[in-house]
Symmetry: C2
Subunit: 338 residues, 2 copies
């Protein structure tokens, strides 16, 4: 079955990545194009189709040879129907039948899953989560998202929304996250939270080093705060430490509730290394059951920017595996909920 | 298969409950005896065997007719081996091969699962959780425990410790739970936490109504605080409200991470009704994703004190279901991990 070919599509707010792979996730060809979301769904979907054709050409694969296409998209989505419902990152998109339209344009069955779940499946199938039967994936970036693998299968819950570990509560009061929840992990430990805290302190006359860095290389971001801390500004370093400690509370909640074999950490803030992860793991250790903490490997993602597209391949593969007749993948029925 | 008979055994710190049931969990006979844990494992296991024989006699069932016995015991346990490892509620017990010894004494295969997981399975199979494919169970009592049902199956995680939802973190600082974790749900919202907070306030000269009630009907418990609040002591009512709000943070974490169809709430503190659950559900609502909150039914347990024993029946049934030869249940091999 080494002849099986898949397309993995990562539809982001600013760019689209298409990978053509074999069934083992080896990349045979790729294409990157801008999303230009403001042009509306029709133009963007046409651009996705064109990028799939281009990536297939790079891979010397004829489009009809592609067994299935998987699409990773910002949530919320309706995975069962293959529809994008109301993504905050794609303004003006509302109930777009993405999987169905792609199927029509490419003649290839398409399935849809949200981006954090795709990255989770990607790391589990092809990356740092390989071999772990029960696994969590957490991406720490401007927001905090995640996914859950139970018994080697993506666990999506009642309506596909499971794995929102960034919105576990970590405090009674405090800042509000992008989704409007007071005191959740994302409100304390995301890149957005770190930058907001720094802006507050600068407005109050503090963090001169961070302010200077942001002036030279705007805008002020979590990375600015991290760099200022590395350059010796103690109050900037303390912001990163505090975010790490809240991340540790979240990790402890995950460890105690899920008793996973692994937690794979991805997202841009992983570049902060021990400055963030040191305090996180220390707090997680002291607030987890000893055996459960020993059971879990906390590891960094291996797939980087390819995680979501490769996970989309794995989702497409699992829903359109080679059957005896090979006919199932040509049906127009919507993909089944997993 | 209406002739299948099971024994469900709830081994608690102070009492032992044995139920003889059919495969549908209908109780045919029962027996209650004191645990007297200080007498040591041998005496307690002999008392369990005697109670099984007595309950079977009440049910007019011959002991060899019992297909399997399930035992609910305080954790931590080794479910795969059927051993009790080091339960804080059974002082002096250490690596007791409970399932194996019961098998020898009764001639009936025995399986072991921790008490919160058993109550979870009981509610899912026979109680308030019937029909929900993805479900959480939370018991709020002196401590806070729980269990997780994924795809109609008990989810136990890497080493059987999943579902410790009482130890999800809800604050950076604050009191410590019985397991030594700072700032977890149990440290804020358990019966122990409520009573401790009241004692602190009485020591500081507050809560005269609660203090008076505790004097008339010692010891001071969470129930004392609740009753004082019901009788008009505002500060006592505020303690219950605050515990409920922390419970709400925990519920929101569960809803966002698991997107379950139901959360079944059990344990002694359910007697507080809306005084505890009102603020809990309000906080859970404002801190959960709207769709996930709409997906979940938050319901009270239906099985009361029988939950753990009935869940032990369900665990025994699932591991010793009628096979074609009927021989499997006579093997001496340890029960398999689920």
């Amino acid at each position: 079955m080494s002849e099986e070919r898949y397309a993995g599509i990562d539809l982001g707010g600013t760019k689209i990545l298409v990978l053509i792979t074999d069934a083992q996730g080896s990349v045979l060809g790729e294409e990157r194009v801008p999303t230009l979301a403001a042009q509306g769904p029709d133009a963007v979907i046409a651009r996705i189709s064109e990028a799939v054709r281009a990536a297939a050409a790079h891979a010397r694969v004829a489009v009809p040879e592609i067994r299935a296409a998987g699409v990773s998209a910002p949530g919320p989505i309706n995975s069962a129907e293959g529809d994008i419902t109301d993504p905050p990152n794609l303004p003006g998109w509302h109930n777009v039948r993405l999987a169905r339209v792609l199927h029509e344009q490419l003649g290839v069955p398409a399935v849809l899953e949200n981006d954090a779940n795709c990255a989770c499946v990607g790391e589990h199938q092809f990356g740092a989560g390989r071999g772990y039967r029960h696994m969590l994936y957490v991406t720490i970036s401007t927001g905090i998202g995640g996914g859950v693998i139970v018994d080697d299968t993506l666990y999506v819950g009642a309506s596909g929304a499971a794995g929102e570990v960034g919105h576990m509560g970590v405090a009674m009061s405090g800042p509000t996250c992008g989704a409007g929840h007071v005191g959740c992990l994302e409100a304390f430990a995301s890149g957005t939270a770190i930058a907001r805290r720094a802006r507050e302190m600068i407005a109050a006359g503090g963090l001169p080093g961070t302010a200077r860095l942001a002036e030279h290389d705007p805008p002020l971001s979590a990375r600015t705060v991290y760099l200022a801390g590395q350059q010796g500004e103690a109050e900037a370093a303390a912001i990163i430490t505090e975010a790490g400690r809240y991340l540790g509370i979240g990790l402890a909640s995950m460890i105690n509730a899920f008793n996973p074999q692994a937690i794979v950490l991805g997202g841009g803030l992983m570049n902060m290394g021990d400055a963030l992860l040191g305090p996180a793991i220390e707090v997680a250790r002291t607030r987890s059951f000893a055996q459960s903490f020993m059971d879990v490997r906390i590891v960094e993602s291996e797939l980087g920017d390819n995680a979501a597209a490769l996970g989309a391949v794995a989702v497409a593969r699992s829903r359109h595996a080679a059957g005896p007749a090979g006919a199932a993948q040509a049906t127009e029925a919507p993909p089944e909920r997993r």
